[in-house]
Structure formats: C-alpha cells, structure tokens
C-alpha cells in the first residue's frame, strides 16, 4: 500500500499531478484568482476559522457521532462497521460543512449573492440554508427533471428563501444545472459567489471544499481512537464529485490504512448506464478541471446514470483521479440494486434511513466486512439521510410489484 505525503498537492496552480487546474472562460479567471487569494488569506485567519468552527458546532451540530453499527456487522458476520453520522448534520448531509465555509468566505469577500448548482437538491438546500443564516441572496440552478424528481428539496430551498432556477437544457439533470450556473456566473461574476458543491470545478474549489469537509475525517479519527483505541483498517465513502470521501479520507492520508471510494454503477457498468467515472471513464476536462470524465470518442460528455441523484454526475474531483493513479485509494462501483438492498438493510438493522448516495458506501462496507475478521474496523461515511429519497424508493417498490 502506498502512503501519501499530504500537503504537497495541489501545486500553486491547483494541479493534483496531471489533474485539476483551471479551465474556465477568461471572464471567470479573475474571479477565480480573486477567490484563491481570498481563500488563502481569509481562510487561514484565526477569526474566519473560529467563526466557521463555531457554526459547525452550534449550528450544524458537530461533531457528528461515530456509531458502531453492531447489528450490521453481525449480519455479515465480519468486521466491525462504524458509521460517521453526517446524516445528522443540519439540513441532512455533509454538504452543509462546505456551504457554510464558502458562504462565510463570500461574505468576507463582500459578495452578498450566492449561486449554486444542485442535482438531488442536497447541495442546493445546504447553500440556501447558509444563505438564509447569513442573510444573503441565493439562486439555485436545478435541472427540470431533478425538480420533478426531488420536489421536497425544491420546496425546502424555496422556504429557505432561495430562488430555484429551472434548467431545461440537456437532460435537465446535475450536469446541465452546473453548466447553467457557470453561464449565470459569467454574467454576474462581479457581485456573485459561486458555491460549488463538491471537490470539483476549477482551482481553488477542489482544495477549498476538501478543506471545509476534512472536519469529517478529523473527527472520525479522534472518535475511533477514543472508542476503540485503534485506527480503522479501512475507510469507505461514496464518490459523486467526491467531497464526502475527500473529507473523510484526507486526515487519514498518512496513516497506513486502506481507503475505498464507491462510485455508482447504475444499471451496471456493462450497460453504459452508470456514473462510475473513475472506474470506467477517461481523462478529460469538464467544469473547469481536468480529471476523469465519462465521454465518447469525440470528447463529448456523456450523461451519467444512477438511482442516486447525488452520484449521477459524469465527472469527479481531480484529487481522486490522482489518488487512484497513486493507488492510495481503491475505487469500486456498486450498482442500483446493491445500493437499494443496503438501504433497506440499514433501515431494518440499525434504524437509520440513509441517503441513496450513502447506501452505496454501506453496500461496499458489507462486502468488505464479510471478508474480514471481527477485529477489523471499517469506518463508513454515512454522508446523508434518506428522507429526500423516499419517493425514489417508493417508485422502485412499485416497479418491483409491477414486474
């Protein structure tokens, strides 16, 4: 197993080895450079950090617990599984860690308007939440198809005072929402801060989002030592853009432990209907950075497919691409059916309704735990709660019945 010296990536231009960088229209370059400067300066100030940490504690409810899922471990007769309970974070997922960080930064930069893209609506809700808390204006771009599928989150964003901007281009899903958010940003860049929802996008987003999310791993590391006296043998997290995974993995980077990133295999890699960018994609440039992408022979981006809207994205954060190449993190893919099964298992065995995204990580954890002795410890990032997915589960059940 390779260990990895943190702090050396990204370089000053935002490159994670061959990945990352800044691939944006010139109109945005100055904003991105300004953001980088502001982040480097303000982001490291004591005042900013203490304000951010206070919000994480008193508003988000951090630290989130690390819960020993004994019945799940017993069920597979294998390793001990601990769940990092990001599902308990305010607004229902890890996304809030990042949106609060970016919104605070925006305010320090004097920008009073936030925009964001959203797929499942989780990042949109988290951004709208941060905007409401800090009294900022907020617009959320969301594909028409996702608006239809995720009605409850649309309503939540509106209740929080955000304007939801329907995107009808492309397939009306996350990729299109991000396209449209970038278009809007080009026009409004002077007073508007673009809150990107994962460790994707142009530098400094992948760096910044990872740093706002690394609290997950910092806490988990302290907690598992407290609870067991040992470091875990393995970390598992789902990978859409990759922010919850980076958040968990990063603080363990120099520890000699295995890490597994779980992508969405959708209806199966072989069907082409998946979102397994690292597993089955190739090198490309999308939404401002170079990484693995799903694309055709001509470099046209393909639509991703996953039952989990938050993983349904044809790109992935550049740091993951590097970690894959280095062999530091092992990437696997779990399909819709496996995720649904894990979803139900966690409901029934532990009384926890996970987000479908997180259910992918749980599915892999069950596979890994089965192969390992009870003395092994696996920490799984339970990135969010499943309330947003109830309709999807219901319609899957109905499909099942009809068939």
């Amino acid at each position: 197993m390779n260990t990895f010296t943190i702090g050396s990536y990204p370089d000053s231009k935002g490159h994670f080895g061959p990945y990352g960088g800044r691939y944006v229209a010139e109109t945005l370059m100055p904003a991105i450079l300004e953001l980088e400067e502001a982040y480097n300066q303000i982001g490291n100030e004591q005042a900013f950090q203490s304000e951010f940490q206070k919000l994480l504690r008193h508003y988000v409810g951090r630290p989130t617990p690390l819960f020993h899922a004994k019945r799940l471990g017993n069920h597979v007769k294998g390793a001990s599984i601990f769940l990092k309970r990001e599902d308990l974070a305010h607004s229902g997922a890890h996304k809030i860690n990042n949106t609060l960080g970016q919104a605070l930064l925006a305010r320090h930069m004097g920008k009073q308007k936030l925009i964001a893209e959203t797929g499942a609506g989780q990042h949109g809700v988290a951004t709208a939440t941060a905007a409401a808390l800090l009294g900022m204006e907020c617009r959320i771009f969301m594909g028409l198809e996702d608006i239809r599928r995720q009605a409850a989150n649309v309503q939540r964003m509106k209740l929080l005072g955000a304007e939801v901007m329907p995107v009808d281009s492309g397939s009306g899903t996350l990729k299109d929402a991000m396209n449209e958010a970038m278009r809007f940003w080009v026009g409004a860049v002077r007073d508007t801060f673009y809150v990107i929802g994962s460790v994707a996008g142009p530098h400094p987003y992948p760096l910044m989002v990872r740093n706002f999310q690394k609290i997950i791993g910092i806490e988990a590391r302290r907690q598992i030592l407290e609870l067991t006296g040992n470091l875990p043998n393995m970390l598992i997290a789902c990978v859409g853009g990759g922010s919850n995974a980076m958040g968990l993995f990063y603080p363990f980077m120099e520890d000699s432990i295995e890490m597994v990133g779980v992508e969405a295999a959708g209806k199966g890699i072989e069907t082409g209907k998946h979102a397994a960018t690292l597993t089955a994609g190739s090198l490309g440039v999308l939404h401002g950075s170079k990484s693995y992408v799903l694309q055709d022979a001509n470099g046209q981006i393909l639509e991703a497919h996953s039952i989990s809207a938050g993983l349904d994205y044809p790109g992935v954060g550049p740091e993951h691409a590097l970690l894959k190449d280095l062999g530091r993190v092992h990437y696997v893919a779990v399909d819709d059916n496996q995720a649904i099964e894990a979803f139900h298992k966690l409901c029934k065995l532990e009384g926890i309704i996970p987000a479908l995204e997180s259910a992918h990580a749980v599915a892999q954890a069950m596979i890994e735990a089965r192969r390992r002795p009870a003395t092994d410890i696996i920490v799984v990032n339970l990135s969010g709660r499943g309330d947003k997915d109830l309709n999807i589960i219901l319609s899957e059940e109905n499909k099942g019945k009809k068939e």
């Binding site: 691939y23 010139e26 109109t27 370059m29 970038m182 080009v186 026009g187 999308l286 170079k290 470099g299």
Partner: protein
C-alpha cells in the same frame, strides 16, 4: 505572413474593420453549412470562426447551445470540421479560426490536432475554456507559429493581466464585450471603447470585439474604435429561425453584407 495578419493589414489599408463571423460547423447539416459559409464569404466576411460543437458549452447562450446540439446530432466532430476547412480552402483564402472547448481537442489528441489543423489549413484556434495558465499543454507541441492562438480578454480582466495575456497571444485579441455568455444583449460602447484604448496601448495586435453584437448599428459603433467585430449568435439565430428555408445561404449572405457595410469606417 499568415492569413490573419495579412487580412488585418489589407483591411487597414482599405480603412475597413474586420467582420469576423462565427457559425457552428455543420449547422443545419454539413452540406448546407458549407453553402452558407461560402455565401457569407462571398458577401464580404473577412474572417471565419468555425465552431466545434461541444456537449457542455458553458460559455454559450441558448442560441449556440441549440446549434451545438443540432450539429452533434449530425455527427459533427473535429475530424468533420477539418474536412470542412479543407473543402473551404479550395474556394477561399480568408482566415479560418477553429473555435472549440478544450475537451474535444484534448480527446482528439493534442499533437494530432495540431498536425491535422495545419494540414487542413486552419489559421487559428480559439479555445474558450483554456486560459493562458493552462494552455502550455496544448501549445508545447506547436513547433511553428503557423497556427495563431486567439486569446480572450474579458471586461473583468485587470490591466496587468491583459498585458500578460497579450504577450502570449497571436493573430488578434478577442475582447469580450460584456460579462455574460454568447448572445447576451445590451452593449455599453463607451466602456468598451475605454478597454480597447487600454488594449491598444498594451499590444500591437489587432483587437476584435465580440459577444452580443447583432445589428448593423452595433457593428458600426464598435467598428469605430475596434479593429474588428465578431458576430456569432446573430448568425446562428438566423439559421435557427430559417431552418426549413431553401435559401438559407442567401439569408445569411444578406446579413453579412449589411454588417460588412457597417465596418467601413470611412463611411462614418
């Protein structure tokens, strides 16, 4: 001297400004697209900007988004675009600039792209999402300076950065008239004028202005201080609303003709 430089030199002599016309390659289909482009050139177009369609055109407004989608359905890709430029080269000598997002180029292969571009007698490249910070990867294999790299300057670009960009540019500088995507409307010519003055003080390169220029009046006002105007969405909009018309080439040619007239600053 390459075609771009000589075009600007010639126009200067004629006291005209360059009319740079953008169309998405292969819109509405490859044959008709060639006919449209030839008609536009015949009507006086000075420089052709030929767009490679991309699935995720984040810098483009709805009109060019739709034209990209139409041409992707036609199977247009970089190879097709090069085939088109080779055909066009048989009939015209005006500069041809290929406009693209970076990913199709990256996917095509960077040296293959360079070699094939030269072989297809392309004169310049404009890669909208490839800022100078990242362009070394692409240009490092450009062994000659036969291919110009057109650089964008935005209203948000600080002066000091303008200078740095200008240094690595060739052909001409493309000044983006406003913050926004292609096809947005509302021009502030006073503001643009100021920026162009700054640019002219920084660089010897000709400066063309694009984004949101659609009428003869727009062209006239911009042409009074810039070295060229770029019109794109206005042409694509014409194609789009006349998709089923047999005389599309004529319609576009007429538009070119009208706009071209407005670039003749002597007539001001």
């Amino acid at each position: 001297m390459n075609r771009i430089d000589s075009t600007f030199k010639t126009l200067k002599k004629k006291k005209e400004k360059a009319l740079v016309g953008f169309v998405t390659a292969g819109d509405p289909n490859i044959e008709e697209s060639l006919r449209i482009i030839e008609a536009m050139i015949d009507a006086g177009l000075d420089i052709l900007e030929l767009g490679v369609p991309f699935s995720d055109p984040t810098a483009d407004g709805p009109v060019i988004q739709r034209s990209s989608a139409r041409t992707l359905k036609q199977g247009v890709n970089i190879a097709v675009v090069f085939e088109m430029t080779r055909k066009l080269r048989k009939k015209t000598d005006i500069p041809i600039i290929v406009f693209s997002y970076y990913n199709p180029i990256f996917s095509y292969g960077i040296s293959a792209f360079y070699n094939d571009a030269l072989a297809s007698e392309v004169d310049g490249m404009l890669v909208v999402d490839l800022p100078p910070e990242e362009s070394m990867e692409m240009t490092s294999c450009w062994s000659t300076n036969e291919l110009s790299l057109i650089r964008l300057i935005a209203p948000t670009t600080p002066t000091e950065r303008m200078a740095r960009i200008a240094q690595s540019a060739s052909g001409f500088l493309y000044f983006v008239s406003k913050t926004g995507v292609t096809g947005s409307d509302g021009l502030d010519s006073k503001e643009i004028d100021d920026k162009i003055k700054t640019l002219h003080s920084i660089t010897q390169l000709p400066v063309c202005v694009g984004f949101g220029i659609s009428t003869a009046a727009d062209v006239k006002s911009i042409a009074s201080f810039a070295d060229g105007v770029v019109v794109g969405s206005a042409f694509e909009r014409l194609i789009e609303i006349n998709l089923d018309q047999p005389n599309l080439p004529t319609i576009l040619a007429e538009k070119v003709h009208r706009l071209k007239c407005s670039t003749k600053t002597t007539s001001v």
